[in-house]
Symmetry: D2
Subunit: 342 residues, 4 copies
């Protein structure tokens, strides 16, 4: 049997569980070697053992220090991401870190510095790049079917808003929600964002406005390549999770529609009815979570660049900060202005 | 200005009006020269004059005899089709006759004989061959995109059943409804039907059964080319007029979906809703009626074969008769058996 | 027979011909009474007579002055629109004027003043409001199916760019192309545009840039209602005329896809292929041209407000001017700034 | 932790591997306890141990006899299905048997008798009933959205024909391929098939004809409920695995289209292109295989009827035999005729 990458997972919440089970069951080149959760329960322990993890702990550092473990998946709370990334890098472990690495640029930069110094791989959890639909668009672009990319349009709407209080800790709509779309925009354009203009409104929940955030946003992008783009976000699409991308170029356009639970159409006196899109990101991106992990394992084992780097995470963050500033100051803001201001 | 074909229309009912207006307004190479209706009303007369018809009469023979008229469109009641076709042919006029030419084979043969003897053109009103969807499928087949045709599948369902009494005079579901689909099947297969097996049921209206007919039917076809096919008919699709065709071959398959009033999809908590198909044949085949007439005019002016011949009409009728016999005798029936029995 | 509106058409070019034929053939409540073209040819005269026009002239004023004519359709060159509107209004004739009324605000205002003073109807030729797809979306919104409108997104791409020299006389991409989309945005939002931000690029033809215009544009809109919107334009979509609209609201979303020539899908080893969208605006909006004219006739005969008013035309123009200024000054521009600056 | 059903798998070929991995990884209420393959290799052994199987053997009877094992999954070669079913039943084990139980009615009846006598569960591997699309149609029917079922139409085409020699051992197109569709037809109609008429042709590979089989077939069905149906099969659809179902009833119709690898549409000068359907049954029915196994586990643990019974398997077989006889004798054949003849 080929070499298996021995992996430790930090954090056994919703997303940590998904990664751990994907590693244990679906990725033949990886082995789940350890799991830590600071709030470890007996149920978690049974579950972790059942997945074959030999090192199960309430202390993430025990996993990081375990010499049998070669790579660390960080799925703990956001405020621990940067420190754990640094600790893992200093221990010589490759790192897969859920997004965001941190909400402050300086901590992200510190984490990236530690990774660089240690010479380990770092992949950030922008799973949507691995979605079957969006990846297919990118493949068509790379194959030349679309020609020169001229426009990238992204629609990204959640089925229901988070509690208004969430806005304060999450960094707001640009930092917790649209950051995925900034990453998608850069991925699809194959070019860096240079300028952002953000229009926003509070149309769904006034408390979101009271908390200083918007719940509806339309952002215009300029790319280094000369292409232009747009992203629209809503915190509440009553018909479910709306995730669409369109890339338009000199030779054509590729557009991804939502995934539906079935292809069935029901024709009645009322019209022709299809099912709503898959409602929640865990269903919608189920395969993408497995595929990003497989890509991380392959990058480590074959010593290739991680497909979503720490620099990607930082660039996405700059775009989110530029959008926030643009909304506040009612003008387009360049990425350079954000980058140099930090 | 190029030569215009001078046309007389017999019968100013629903379909006669459509043909007359198409000739007057949409077909630049034709001129509406006369209109007759045995129940001519002052309203009809005003309408006919408004269309530019110079000869407006209560007697079809006046139109047929009019030396200024070169071609006759027969839209009167079915029982007059054969006689008027013969009269027009004997007067040296080209004929476009609504389907069916007659419900008895001998009268159809008599009409075809008169047409042949007179050396005039005869086109039968199987308008669906001119539908944008079904014509496109045939074009793809002729272009070789489908390869050798192996299967032809036709779905043809009406929005609502006719009065049960209609079955008696119409000839029943195979003769008044499925005959269009037999014609479509022969058109799409590019081959003659050789054998028919019919299954039928009374599922919509028991009175249809009492009248000796079925309202739901599934027919299997064999073609001279070796291909096989199926047609399903229902007298009542609550979601509207359902008209679909699929041709499957060695290199691929082409399928036509229904036309919808708009492309709009409405996404709500209830699902994703499209509009129902166009409800009625006059809307669904609006352009096809104009296109079949334009094709008739072109065939006459350029002395080309009519695109749907009298022999086509007869072949379609044999298939309908075979289906009726198959249903009654619960066995497959060959076209040869029908043809030689008449 | 009911009263028919007697109409004169000025300008027998591409669009004038369409309107004249629609009036003559498709709108039973109207009668084509006159046609003028400053470059009248014998062919035009034959054609006009064939449509039943009694007054055919090389001088538009002859039609305007004709006492038998009650309404004027202005399809002559753009620089004559305002003057002919004024002349027709002063003659007491109702006016349907192709867009734009003029490229300068002052002339548009003068025309609107004359119309108001004369108490006649004025409809501007924003035909897309009558398109079956876009009208259906608006109907759904008005029926409450979408709830409060939160976003309006419009994609509008031409199959091929005009000659670069055209930019100079047309007023550029915002004034000659996106003005249709500003009108659509206002129509779908049911609210006035208050602010515009425009991003643009020259990605198709450098000469368009040399002429001072852009060929690719992405515009963000704010509406008085609080909704936000976007419009993207490209002068060249190689796959054909791309005309889509999406309205998103508190209860759902409605989206219109392009019209295709047929519903046929061809499945082969290469994939599943549908036809390209209808290529050209005359095909795509064929029925919309007839329907806008029918609506104008109805507004006059029944003394109802014209469905697209002169004020609509002016508001659309302000949005186009704001977009031009935004692009030049790289900042969002309010409509108020444009309105008060004129 | 809840009780887990301890399962042994017989046969570690393509389908056995899928079931074993689904049991080990995806079905939390089951445990993979044993695996046998008569051609056991060291690689299989490593794989089986990796899945947690404690009893790995070259002898199926060792698994059947293992007292730690409660249920048996039979994935060995077809000629062993009936004997292993009988052995497992006699050992008091519940049985999931891949289709067909056998190619002869008497052996199937013997297996069903043994199962009945032992009072164990038997589920037959008609996985398509668990497909997300086809299950959704059935749910709509059961919810009353379709009304009374009047027609069931099934299209089922393979991407490539099997070797002609396969026809001899497989029982031919009706027994090895269309049997899935007979099962689907009975499932969707919610009624037993009473009569079958089969048309068939050799259009793909003459050697299939030489082997006494057809490669293209169109079958008409009558159901006890009065509904009618059709199934078409082709051994070779160049565009991939074509699996569609349509149910038509008094209140509407539900139709399932193929699953595609992505929702992406590529618009270019050549048209609008979607990807081909998933090419192979293992991809197309990946989730259905897991779901049928989960349903079996649930039926055993909760002592509910197995969702696809041995009687279902027998009824499907009668339909296949009737189709074969119909093709040979060129007439409709009743199920009663087949049933009483055996």
């Amino acid at each position: 049997m080929a070499k298996q990458l021995r992996i430790g997972v930090l954090g056994a919440g919703r997303i940590g569980k998904i990664h751990a089970e994907n590693i244990a069951y679906l990725i033949s080149q990886a082995k789940l070697a350890g799991i830590a959760d600071v709030k470890l329960t007996p149920e978690m322990e049974t579950w972790a053992k059942g997945l074959g993890a030999q090192n199960v702990s309430g202390d993430p550092m025990e996993i990081i220090r375990d010499p049998a473990i070669e790579a660390i998946i960080i799925c703990s709370s956001t405020d621990t991401h940067a420190d754990l990334t640094i600790a893992a890098a200093e221990a010589g472990k490759h790192v897969f870190c859920e997004k965001p690495i941190d909400l402050t640029v300086s901590k992200v930069q510190a984490a990236l510095g530690a990774v660089k110094k240690a010479g380990v791989k770092l992949q950030v959890g922008f799973n949507r790049r691995f979605d079957h639909n969006f990846r297919k668009i990118r493949e068509l672009t790379l194959a030349g079917d679309i020609g020169e990319v001229q426009m990238v349009k992204i629609t990204s709407r959640d089925p229901a808003p988070p509690p208004p209080a969430y806005a304060a800790v999450s960094g707001g709509i640009f930092m917790d929600m649209m950051i995925h779309d900034f990453d998608m925009a850069r991925f699809q354009a194959g070019s860096e964002i240079t300028e952002v203009y953000a229009a926003g409104a509070v149309l769904i929940d006034p408390e979101i406005g009271t908390a200083g955030d918007v719940d509806t946003a339309m952002v215009t992008l300029k790319f280094a390549s000369g292409a232009i783009g747009s992203i629209d976000n809503s915190r509440k699409a009553v018909y479910g999770y709306d995730q669409r991308v369109e890339v338009f170029g000199s030779k054509g356009a590729a557009a991804a529609e939502n995934d539906l639970p079935s292809t069935v159409r029901l024709s009645t006196e009322a019209g022709i009815l299809h099912e709503k899109p898959l409602h929640f990101f865990l269903q919608r991106y189920k395969d993408a979570f497995a595929d990003e992990m497989a890509a991380f394992v392959e990058a480590v084992l074959e010593d290739k660049p991680a497909p979503v780097s720490g620099e990607d995470g930082l660039a996405d963050m700059y775009a989110a900060l530029a959008a926030g500033k643009s909304l506040k100051e009612k003008r387009p803001v360049t990425i350079e202005e954000i980058r140099s201001g930090n």
